[in-house]
C-alpha cells in the first residue's frame, strides 16, 4: 500500500513544480469525481456489511471443507461471487482451507470469482458502465473462473 502513497505524493510534487494551476485543476477533478461516485460506494459498503454478516468466514470454511469436487466448485464460485474481501483476508483463508484438505481446484474457483466477479460492486460498475455491460462482464468473468479452476484441477491432478 505504501507505494501508492509514495507514488501519489511524488506525482503531486512534480505536478506542483511544473504547474500550480494544473495541479489545482487535477485536485478539483479528483474531488468532483470522488463525490459523484460516493453514493455508489455507500451502497456497496452497506451491501458488503450485510452480506459479510450473513456469510461469515466460518460458513465458507464449513461448506468448502467437506464436499465432493464439483459441488465444491459450485459452492466456491457462488461464495466467491457474492462476497467481497481484501486479499489479506482472502488468501490466509484459502491457506487454511488448503491445509484442511480442500482441493486447489475449488480454491481457484473461490479466489478467482472473489477477485473478478463483483455482485457487491454492482452499484459502482453500473454507475460507470451501465447495467448491460456490468452483467455481461460479470458473466464472462464467472466463466473464466470456472475454466481456470478446471485447468488448475488438471495441473494438480485433481480431475480424473
Amino acid at each position: 500500500m505504501y507505494y501508492l502513497y509514495i507514488l501519489t505524493i511524488l506525482a503531486l510534487l512534480i505536478s506542483v513544480f511544473k504547474s500550480v494551476d494544473k495541479t489545482s485543476k487535477a485536485v478539483k477533478i479528483a474531488v468532483k469525481k470522488f463525490i459523484t461516485i460516493l453514493p455508489a460506494f455507500l451502497s456497496m459498503l452497506i451491501l458488503v456489511s450485510i452480506i459479510l454478516f450473513l456469510i461469515p468466514d466460518k460458513i465458507i470454511l464449513k461448506y468448502l471443507g467437506d464436499n465432493n469436487k464439483f459441488v465444491g466448485i459450485t459452492l466456491a464460485s457462488f461464495f466467491g461471487s457474492v462476497t467481497l474481501m481484501p486479499g489479506f483476508i482472502a488468501f490466509p483463508l484459502c491457506g487454511i482451507l488448503l491445509k484442511k484438505g480442500v482441493t486447489y481446484m475449488v480454491l481457484s474457483a473461490f479466489s478467482t470469482t472473489l477477485m473478478m466477479v463483483g455482485i457487491l460492486t454492482y452499484p459502482i460498475e453500473k454507475a460507470y458502465f451501465g447495467v448491460k455491460v456490468t452483467i455481461i462482464r460479470n458473466m464472462f468473468s464467472f466463466f473464466i473462473a470456472i475454466v481456470v479452476a478446471l485447468i488448475t484441477g488438471i495441473f494438480f491432478g485433481e480431475i480424473g
Binding site: 485543476k25 487535477a26 452497506i46 456489511s49 481484501p86 464472462f140 485447468i151
Partner: protein, 174 residues
C-alpha cells in the same frame, strides 16, 4: 426527486437507524453489521483518495493523443501488453479499477483495452499475487495467472467488438 432516489435515501436512513439502535440496545447482529461497515470503509479510505488524485493528475497531464496511440483503436497487441503491465502495478480491487478504466476510456482507450484492464487488475496485481503465492504456492499462482490472462484478453475483445458494433457509449460525466 426521482422515486429511485427516494427509495435509496429511505434505505440509507433505515440502515443508519438500525445500526444505531443495535448499538444502543446491544443487539449483536446489528453491531456486527456496523463493525463490518466501519472496517470496510477504513480499508477503502486508505486507497480511494490517493487513487482519485492520481486519476485527476492523469486527466490533466496525459495527452489524449498519447493514450489513443498506445491504447486506442490502432494500438494492436502492444496495447494489451501495456494494459496488463499497468494493471499489474495497481492497487485495490475492482472498485478502484472501474474509475481508472473509465478515465482511460474517456482519454481514448478502446473498450477491449479497458475491459482487459479491469480483468487484469482484478487477477494479476503483482503484490497481491506474491502474497497469494506465499499461502498457496508458486505453482498455484502461476497457473492461475497464466490461464486467466489470455481468457481475460479474449473475452474483452469479444465484449469490446460486440459493444462497438452496437455503438455503445459509456455514460458521460462521472
Amino acid at each position: 426527486m426521482p422515486l429511485g432516489n427516494k427509495i435509496k435515501i429511505a434505505g440509507l436512513f433505515a440502515y443508519i437507524c438500525f445500526v444505531a439502535a443495535s448499538f444502543i440496545l446491544n443487539f449483536n447482529p446489528g453491531k456486527l453489521i456496523g463493525a463490518n461497515f466501519y472496517s470496510f470503509s477504513i480499508e477503502m479510505l486508505k486507497i480511494l483518495p490517493f487513487a482519485f488524485i492520481l486519476i485527476g493528475l492523469f486527466e490533466v497531464w496525459v495527452k489524449r493523443e498519447t493514450v489513443e496511440k498506445h491504447l486506442g483503436t490502432e494500438s494492436g497487441f502492444r496495447g494489451y501488453l501495456w494494459t496488463i503491465l499497468l494493471a499489474g502495478t495497481s492497487v485495490g480491487g475492482l472498485y478502484v479499477a472501474f474509475p481508472i478504466a473509465y478515465s482511460l476510456h474517456s482519454k481514448g482507450a478502446k473498450l477491449s483495452i479497458i475491459f482487459t484492464y479491469i480483468g487484469a487488475s482484478a487477477i494479476c496485481r503483482v503484490p497481491m499475487t506474491i502474497f497469494e503465492a506465499s499461502f498457496m504456492g508458486i505453482k498455484f499462482s502461476m497457473i492461475r495467472v497464466l490461464a486467466s490472462v489470455p481468457l481475460v484478453i479474449a473475452t474483452s475483445i469479444v465484449l469490446g467488438n460486440y459493444l462497438t458494433k452496437r455503438k455503445y457509449k459509456v455514460l458521460p460525466g462521472k
